[in-house]
Symmetry: C2
Subunit: 268 residues, 2 copies
């Protein structure tokens, strides 16, 4: 009998627990940082990130040895398998090193190349935002509640977020696109990475715009946001494929269209 994505929900929660067990002793502790990308921006990688990805890969190898894995730290392993896990144990390393509990653990699952299950976990707070593309829910120690994006907000009233208004938007065209959008909305928040996607799923933010995502930065969030009724697209309106890129995460289609128009208004 073929496996359904929902059958893997207990396993994705187990992966979240295993990852959190590695990461939490290192959160707010003194720990070694590495700079992967010396001289070309600030991109710390913590021992926690590596240890957690190793722990997750170990569990996948034990329980689902035929599944593929793509992770930020340890690369690709059978990326063309029927089922492929896409991992980023610490999305938001800058928040992490600053002690701020808005970093997240991203675990996504592809089936035949399409994202079908994903979780955005925050183990310090004790939250897992879990989605299947059709439904999404928040799981905490207190229980579960369904997630639903906010509908019908116009851009002028929107609460939006992006990771960094200065460093992420490269070149004058991207900077101008961001300023155009920011000047159109009610309130902008910064520095929350994928935690902001979870807040779109929870109906608290209306829009997140990111200029340069990798697959592991966004893929786990797609089933969560879409399961809550939202949309995840490229700045040009196309679906996000397997390579990430410039992404808009929105509560509904109308505000997505408004955001895409605002971003395009300054483009060459």
């Amino acid at each position: 009998m073929p496996v359904a994505p929902a059958d893997l929900e207990p396993f994705i929660l187990e992966l979240n627990r295993a990852s959190g067990a590695v990461i939490l002793p290192l959160f707010r502790a003194d720990h070694g940082l590495e700079d992967k990308d010396k001289g070309a921006g600030f991109d710390p990688v913590t021992q926690a990130d590596r240890g957690a990805e190793a722990a997750i890969r170990q569990l996948i190898a034990e329980h689902h040895p035929d599944h593929g894995v793509i992770g930020e730290e340890y690369g690709e392993d059978r990326p063309d398998a029927e089922w492929v896990w896409v991992l980023d144990p610490i999305d938001g390393t800058r928040a992490f090193i600053s002690g701020l509990p808005v970093w997240t653990t991203l675990i996504g699952l592809r089936h035949h190349g399409a994202p079908v299950l994903g979780s955005i976990g925050q183990p310090y707070i004790g939250e897992v935002f879990l989605g299947t593309g059709e439904r999404a829910r928040l799981i905490t120690a207190e229980g579960e509640r369904p997630l639903q994006t906010r509908k019908g907000t116009r851009l002028s009233q929107a609460l939006i977020a992006t990771t960094d208004p200065h460093e992420c938007f490269r070149g004058e065209a991207e900077q101008a696109a961001w300023r155009s959008l920011r000047d159109s909305v009610r309130l902008a928040r910064y520095g929350c990475d994928a935690y902001a996607y979870a807040m779109v799923a929870a109906g608290k933010l209306d829009l997140v715009v990111e200029p340069g995502l990798k697959s592991w930065d966004i893929e786990a969030a797609i089933p969560v946001v879409e399961g809550a009724g939202g949309v995840v697209r490229h700045w040009d309106g196309r679906p996000i494929g397997q390579n990430g890129g410039r992404a808009v995460i929105a509560g509904d289609e109308p505000i997505l269209a408004e955001a895409i128009a605002a971003l395009a208004s300054t483009s060459p």
Copy 2:
């Protein structure tokens, strides 16, 4: 026998619990917002803020009827009393309405006009950062641990924060002062309000700069940051008095001096 500030630690924790009990059912719920300050910037006040301040004032009136109270929502009551509580139940209302768990509950206590006890609480996460000016600790459901600022970081390696790089710094001189500082450091974080002060106390951030604080935005944090070994000053190097103002929160004196110099380098 005169009361010592430490005798009031159980009471300040009780105030935190009472405040959290009012606020948490409204966090991430749909709730009414008011705009206190129409046409002059965005300053939402939630029903949660008002309800929590009323609950805290009620407990103070019952248990310490001779104490004064100063709060953001309900003004001043015996501000010249020997003991005066300074309250902001939801510091970081923008984070709050965005669903982000970096808003805090600020409760400070003055004795003869000087801050002697304070707490920075985050009830959704379940944290209270408590300080006496001489010691500070983090209290969670798991237990307590001492707080200690990071020492010896140079400005060029510093992790810093401010609430909003666009809206808070008013006029070209403040904007230039902020850019001068930001361009001198390793990493800047935004939007964390008093949660960032707690991260200075916890040794994760080195510096926070804020241009326009009220007494209730900062006073509760002074015994926490100073109790952890840090310093809280005006941009001009003087102590913060009872009126707030432009504040620098720093892990130690050398980085405070570097920050003050960087801020002053662009001033008229």
